[in-house]
Symmetry: C2
Subunit: 345 residues, 2 copies
Amino acid sequence: MVVRIEATPINPSDLGLLLSAADLSVAKTSGKGVETVVTAPIGPAAMRVLAGRVGKSMSVGLEGAGVVISAGASPDAQALLGKTVSIFGGGMYGQFRTSKAADCLVLPAGIKPEEAGSAFVNPLTALGMLETARREGHKGLVHTAAASSLGQMLNRLCRADGFPLVNIVRSTQQVQILKDLGAEHIVNSAEPSFRDDLLAALKATGATLAFDAIGGGKLAGQILNAMEAVAAGASAETYNMYGSSIHKQVYIYGTLDLGPVELARGSGMMWGVGGWLLFHFLAKVGPEVEARLKARVANEIKTTFASYYTRTISLVEALDPDVIAAYSRRATGEKFLINPSVAVD
Amino acid sequence: MVVRIEATPINPSDLGLLLSAADLSVAKTSGKGVETVVTAPIGPAAMRVLAGRVGKSMSVGLEGAGVVISAGASPDAQALLGKTVSIFGGGMYGQFRTSKAADCLVLPAGIKPEEAGSAFVNPLTALGMLETARREGHKGLVHTAAASSLGQMLNRLCRADGFPLVNIVRSTQQVQILKDLGAEHIVNSAEPSFRDDLLAALKATGATLAFDAIGGGKLAGQILNAMEAVAAGASAETYNMYGSSIHKQVYIYGTLDLGPVELARGSGMMWGVGGWLLFHFLAKVGPEVEARLKARVANEIKTTFASYYTRTISLVEALDPDVIAAYSRRATGEKFLINPSVAVD
């Protein structure tokens, strides 16, 4: 079937593919309208990592939503004509996208494409984090860069499910965003009281799992060590040089800081740090769990899983230097939506 | 039952409990013979971590072997009288140790205590590493600080079982130790060709799991990134910005370097780093697996799991400043055995 794409967000992972490690401060633009070409250099170190993509056409746009305008002959496919569906899998930054009927998420009647453009990445990531916490036996969750669109969604989700959540942010503005959402545990890593505040929140929630969007730097290690301090304190009668026997885990799912992950020792021997990626999570849990999670997204797309955008742009505007500068900032709470189907010159 | 301890090694983990973070360069000795007392200061940062053990008596000596000199009335217990047994669990640095008959490892006839003093920690750690590799689906194994007593044992074990092993060492002397053992894959991290050598060894073995004794520094991250380079190269037709979908794992089981673990990004999203401890491993696999591994140790204590010692000392000699200086160096291939039952003044 063919979907006319009307809403496709610019996610951090889209920026990774779209802009990669290009130095945008010296980007050059040539051509006009649909012929616009933006060129920017990439440093030699990054080029080594990116060698695999040189000369290859990359389909950008991880997820999107639109209206089914053409479908196969089967009654099931025909029933989708005119419906709003969300799809996933790259190549959404275009006016039309083919998809298998089985792969799309059919929204309830009355949902517009702009309400369903972000139905996959953030909703399934938030659900995947909570599902991971439950499957791996944790009683509470820590999230960093917690005032992001995803972080706000995770707050709504954890509140709906009564699952304790510790929000780590980096500024007082971000604290305010989460306070306005009604978040209970907010810890600002820019405060001198950070370690004590984190310990108090971990003690209150019993959280032993963190999802970290930042990656580089000391934060993942600080979280592990604080979790260990709480765990070891809970069983302090006997000294054990190997630390507590409570497993503490940090999953790094983003790379806001490209530097090395620095783990100061001090979390005993029961700890883990690892990568976490939605696709790998879905492959691991299997199609039944995926279907259950998707059904929940469709049902709560206007509440728990609603997305908010700073600005909607056309595909041509997405190549405008000022607009690139704006969306490549990855500022907290700022999210751009592309509508590839608006009229362009 | 009561065991007269005749052989108990000084393992790195024993040094952790015995010497902790004490500054031995300014250690003071008072008293003589069995009244000897060694005192050494500990810096304020380490004291914070060690607060939990202040004022507590620590039973040192993780494992040992000796002869059963007293046993309960049951025929099973009585049958052990005069036999050589290995025991485990702390408090071995003494002349006598009580133990439950069920907890000890009974050696075949003819095995002397000095041949069975190290029947637990290194043998079960080597077996635990191999068992972990198989349970988690890896085709080959990487080991760092690979010329250690444990590393040499792991080489014998992996050769016996035909399991590919990459040995990472830090000097040409250590390369020679492993060459003399017949090790196939030896990589010296002190060579400028380290990365290329490591890539070649990983390619040849397909190893995607490493056990790291060092902990601090860049090595764990370098191993992960090299594994990813091999994994991504094997499926290089299509570029994937998330990296390969092959899981790469490093377990840190030692702390030869107390500094932070520094993981440079570049291993995609399917990776993990975590602590690994023999006790936690045994608790996870359960008593049946533990019994199977122990039976293998007993059968191969003079071959695969043989331990070699630089020197045998008495308990009083273990407090001699020169002797402390020697065993606290943790020099590769140097291992001390204590015989608490030799006559002292």
